[in-house]
């Protein structure tokens, strides 16, 4: 029983009560975010606040890279130049063929009176920050809505598909990597044309799902985007088959692939901004 001089209630709630209140707020936060996606404004606010900081903090690393690049030995540069010259010669041949094919393609399309494909624009973006989430592998780029990005766009680097834009902020954007768990990419096997679905499996790998046991597929095969989902343009390299194994219990093959793009190395990427397709009646 409280004595007359004593306060009936403590002026401040006890730690356990405060914990419970905050837990309740936390749970409602989770529910609001997951069920109603209503906290994107807060995300944008954090992004506006932190993006300049990240830009600045990236600078020391950039300077270090510049400096180490400056001191690269002359010999190595020469070697690289020779290799590049050789590669240029090889590519020139390819370019000529491609030009031929483009012309031929245009003619054939005209013949078939097909609509030319809508123009594609690419936006150069640099890696700003690497997320540390357990459920998805994401990176943050330094380009956002102001550069015309929207969520769903494909992101590529020089070697292949990096991922898909997931969230867009005014000056930055989050990209889900192809190797992120549950990230699906429609692909086809370059050698045979067999279509399939590549899913990220975490740890920087992909698996090709639902391949019947008699499928002709072997290690070394390249997987390209098939383009049937209208999200990715067709023909972007996605992954190379690393290991194929059959199991007695499973009617499907287990096909493990390694992504082509330098998911943990690339610092500069391109976002392919496809103009929305306008269908005329």
């Amino acid at each position: 029983m409280p004595t007359p001089g004593q306060l009936m209630f403590a002026r401040r709630l006890g730690p356990t009560a405060r914990l419970l209140i905050w837990l309740l707020i936390g749970v409602s936060c989770v529910v609001i975010d997951v069920r109603f996606q209503a906290l994107e404004g807060l995300r944008s606010g954090f992004s506006l606040l932190l993006q300049p900081v990240r830009q600045v903090l990236r600078a020391p690393g950039d300077v270090a890279t510049e400096l180490s690049g400056f001191f690269t030995r002359h010999r190595q540069l020469q070697k690289e130049r020779d290799a590049l010259l050789a590669e240029r010669a090889r590519l020139a041949v390819g370019v000529n063929t491609a030009k031929e094919l483009t012309r031929e393609n245009a003619e054939l399309r005209a013949l078939l009176q097909l609509q030319a494909r809508p123009g594609q624009r690419t936006v150069r973006a640099a890696l700003l920050y690497r997320g540390h989430d357990w459920f998805a592998q994401r990176i943050t780029l330094d380009q956002g809505a102001t550069a015309g990005l929207r969520s769903g766009l494909p992101v590529v680097d020089a070697r292949g598909l990096v991922g898909q834009v997931h969230r867009v902020y005014p000056g930055s954007s989050e990209v889900t990597l192809v190797s992120s768990p549950e990230q699906l990419t429609p692909v086809f096997v370059e050698r045979t044309g067999q279509r399939g679905l590549a899913a990220g499996s975490g740890q920087g790998r992909l698996v090709l799902r639902y391949m019947p046991a008699q499928t002709d597929i072997r290690p070394g095969d390249r997987l390209l985007t098939s383009g049937i989902d209208r999200v990715y343009p067709a023909g972007i390299p996605v992954a190379r088959v690393n290991r194929v194994s059959r199991s007695q219990a499973n009617p499907y093959l287990r096909v493990e692939c390694l992504p082509m793009a330098g998911l943990d190395r690339s610092r500069a990427v391109l976002v392919v901004v496809a103009e929305p397709q306008v269908t005329k009646p």
Binding site: R18, W22, I25, G26, L57, Y129, H132, D133
Partner: protein, 166 residues
Amino acid sequence: MTTPPHAAGNWRRILGTLTLAVLLEQLPWSGWMLAVRPDFVLVVLLFWTLHQPERLGFGTAFFLGLLADFQDGAVFGQHAIAYVVGGYLVLYLRLRLLQFDPSRQAMQLFPVLLSVQLIALLIGWLAVNPPAGLTMLLPVLSSTVLWYAIAGFLRLLHGKGMQDRA
């Protein structure tokens, strides 16, 4: 209550270290550095919760947790809840922790940090891959009812009170 003379300095120190921790997390970590990167913000938060519990409340912990959620692109609330629980655990163990030398303190903090990580993991998992429904919580309810039934039955059986403390 009188305010200590160096109160302003303390505030500055708390804010300064927290800002530093947030800035450290903004560095473009990658590869194995990212994998072993300590959670600077959490450590600083727990440190000040231990030494200045009247200045850092659950609200600060919650806000910093939201910031961590933004940084990882995770579900909002995942780290917020975990940080709040971490703060509570440190408050709970405070008097005990303050008696130890640094090495033992670190050892005692290991389970706290582990539980923070596990809570964030659990909440993220529940939010991203929700189980079939909240029906998984029904056994909790039925078990409670069962407890009531057993306790009530035993009480009836033994007369009016099984008061252990007598």
